[in-house]
Symmetry: C2
Subunit: 230 residues, 2 copies
């Protein structure tokens, strides 16, 4: 019942490459693994996995991210398809790149040992196999644009976070410094944050109030034609 026309076509290996990003110590980190098989076994690589016949693309990403982080229900976005003929030196593989933003607190550190993985500060990532470095560049560029236009940064923070935390996150994303008063004014004016009663005292004596992102309020805002922008 498969149409004949399809049968005449070539088929290809298709993989996903996942850029798993976390935020700690005021910096963005990329999860990097040592490749487990030839060719280039042992070299630094993005997390990857081949697509299975019964999986959609995002299901494959979800599976790979879960495997490497133990986290489910992760925020992800597609970066693009990479299909130069010789990009994978083993066989021809077309790769679909996705980045995933995780709260690094809920990351299972054990899994680093299992997978020979490590968190590498984003700005200091060295050589990666194939075109993975290019994929990373494209991802950073896309993340910057997206983070400026939609409230996706919160995926990198715990449910409760402080405004200083949020600001250093955006400073890490944009690789710049931001004015404290302007930043706070802007984010608070949107009224998408809910101030909590308790404080984080881990980084100052005075303590900084916790906030939560309120997705419902954000959705209402969208309906009214307002847009997130930082």
């Amino acid at each position: 019942m498969t149409p004949l026309f399809y049968k005449d076509q070539e088929r290809f290996y298709v993989s996903v490459d996942c850029l798993i990003l976390g935020f700690k110590n005021d910096k963005l980190y990329l999860l990097i693994t040592k490749r487990k098989f030839e060719p280039l076994k042992g070299q630094d690589s993005l997390m990857g996995g081949f697509i299975r016949p019964d999986e959609s693309l995002s299901e494959t990403v979800t599976r790979v991210v879960y495997e490497y982080t133990g986290i489910q229900d992760v925020f992800m976005e597609q970066v693009g398809a990479y299909g130069e003929v010789g990009r994978d030196i083993g066989e021809r593989v077309i790769s679909l790149a996705y980045y995933a933003l995780i709260d690094i607190q809920s990351f299972d550190e054990q899994l680093c040992k299992v997978h020979n993985a490590r968190w590498q500060e984003l700005e200091t990532v060295g050589e990666l196999i194939f075109d993975h470095k290019q994929i990373l560049q494209d991802t950073i560029e896309q993340l910057r644009k997206k983070a400026a236009a939609e409230p996706i940064g919160f995926n990198l923070l715990p449910e409760k976070f402080t405004l200083p935390q949020l600001q250093t996150l955006y400073e890490a994303i944009y690789q710049t410094t931001l004015d404290k008063r302007n930043f706070r004014k802007k984010i608070l004016e949107m009224e998408i944050l809910e101030k909590q009663d308790d404080k984080d005292k881990s980084s100052s004596k005075r303590g900084a109030f916790y906030y939560k992102f309120n997705k419902e309020k954000y959705d209402q805002l969208l309906k009214k034609g307002y847009y997130f922008s930082l």
Copy 2:
């Protein structure tokens, strides 16, 4: 010499779907074809083609666009990868969507008959097979953002164009009206257009001066940290 690990994996049909866009009569048009083979033979569809083993993704797009338009060296951009398990009802096909912007003047009208294709006004596109309508939505959204931030609109115009033409193009892209004086001020201040000595008299008695986009000037602008925005 192919690594064993790869051999264990499934392989997939991979196609590109091309959204070929043109501009005429103050409106954007999408090239639509009647599907040539089963399943859904005869229904409206984007231009597509299967990837060949010796082709990169953009080479496949270039080939498909050439086949349907007779145009080479076309501006294109990737929209994304579409890979839901059941998206193609014939077989599982992972599709990589690209849009291409062409100068509709240089389009070979003959090819419409050869391929059962037609230009459909973008805002009136009806049902399309599979997830092609979704792909179209995503494309329009991406095109709007891109056109606002980079000088890609010129790919939809002849080499020489007038400012009224350019303005109606942007009005078609954004689906809004723009203030003539503000528009002209903004685009001319960038100094990326070169005024010609001759006029287009086809749409008014007085005639409107032709301009050309100057890519060199634009690149210099980029180096100085200025950015295109319309």
